[in-house]
Subunit: 210 residues, 2 copies
């Protein structure tokens, strides 16, 4: 059935939806699911093809290698997340409120797609090579956004100035990251996003009794 679908059977020139690269998307979705369940190294390309309902060889019409599939998953997701986030963040004045929204978005995004979250938390960490490559790209940018927000908060007097903004941003990221990891591993299916508030309460106010 060779037809990188153009229309979908409805009235001739229906919606101009993703004309050609639709199957590419399908493969990425299938791969995310398969990688999340079996792990990248334990997943066979034929598993991905099977999940996507296509032949093994077809995968190579859209991706150069198995490795490239994993990369694409990150690239797309991260790009989307950063772009989306930046836009929304820009409109918020107060640094603390902005930080709050970042945390919410972080957990909302991953909390909305468990498979994607698993691939992000688990497979991304699965090799130093990957981490380094990835680190250089979107990840560093994300950390830097948090960093800037904190510095801004210090300048505007919302945050203490006797703390290191770099350490600070790592702590926030680490905390959020841990929430996601725990959520993934948890048997109980609780909603992830609300944890943002909990995290920020502590991150902002500290745990010590005054």
């Amino acid at each position: 059935m060779p037809r990188p679908n153009t229309s979908n059977g409805k009235s001739a020139r229906a919606v101009a939806v993703a004309a050609v690269p639709d199957k590419r998307q399908a493969i990425l979705r299938a791969a995310t699911k398969v990688f999340a369940r079996k792990g990248y190294f334990n997943s066979k390309v034929s598993d991905v093809a099977g999940e996507a309902g296509i032949a093994d060889g077809t995968v190579y019409l859209y991706f150069k290698s198995k490795d490239e599939i994993l990369h694409s998953i990150f690239d797309r997701a991260m790009e989307e997340f950063i772009a989306e986030g930046k836009k929304e963040i820009h409109e918020i004045k107060r640094a603390d409120k902005r930080l709050q929204r970042i945390a919410e978005l972080h957990l909302e995004k991953l909390g909305a797609d468990r498979d994607l979250a698993v691939v992000f938390q688990v497979e991304l960490r699965g090799s130093t090579k990957f981490m380094e490559e990835f680190s250089a790209a979107g990840f560093a940018e994300y950390l830097s956004i948090i960093h800037q927000t904190i510095e801004d908060g210090q300048k505007t007097g919302v945050f203490r100035t006797d703390i290191n903004a770099t350490v600070c941003s790592k702590i926030l990221f680490g905390a959020l990251d841990e929430m996601v990891t725990n959520w993934i591993l948890s048997r109980n299916h609780y909603p992830l996003a609300p944890m943002a508030e909990e995290v920020l309460k502590i991150f902002f106010g500290g745990i010590r009794e005054k």
Copy 2:
């Protein structure tokens, strides 16, 4: 050279060090190094054997499979860390001081052995299967120690009682974990342990200006 060394050439019955399983240790050390540099899935058993200066087959005299090597690395390290930590922690009265020591130990231990740290941060996260298996074991125990310490601090009035101790412990762990990950990926070789103080300052006091 078959000789699971008993003494080390010094005066006959020298120290009663690990009588037989010495080579086992050597393999674990070699594997830690190799896995850290190339990643578990990209490492060949022959790489490990080579690093340890023994034949491929010899590895299987001490381990049932490649997988078991990785498991052993975790089990040993974690067991050692928990045992060592528990003993020291018990002697500290104040919950906040105890938490401080836990954080220091965490970073000291991993900061002292970069290869071990890489395996812990990267390979341990490399598969959900592994995380789940491991999660059930030492990891959960570690988190629980932090948890108890925080609860104790709440009872004794050192910590606020309007916060969730579980979330709290995850945040601290996540923050420390992130410090280690960043340290591993960093090109600059800074000492890791001192970061504990930075982390705790924020964890205890929060970042908000009062």
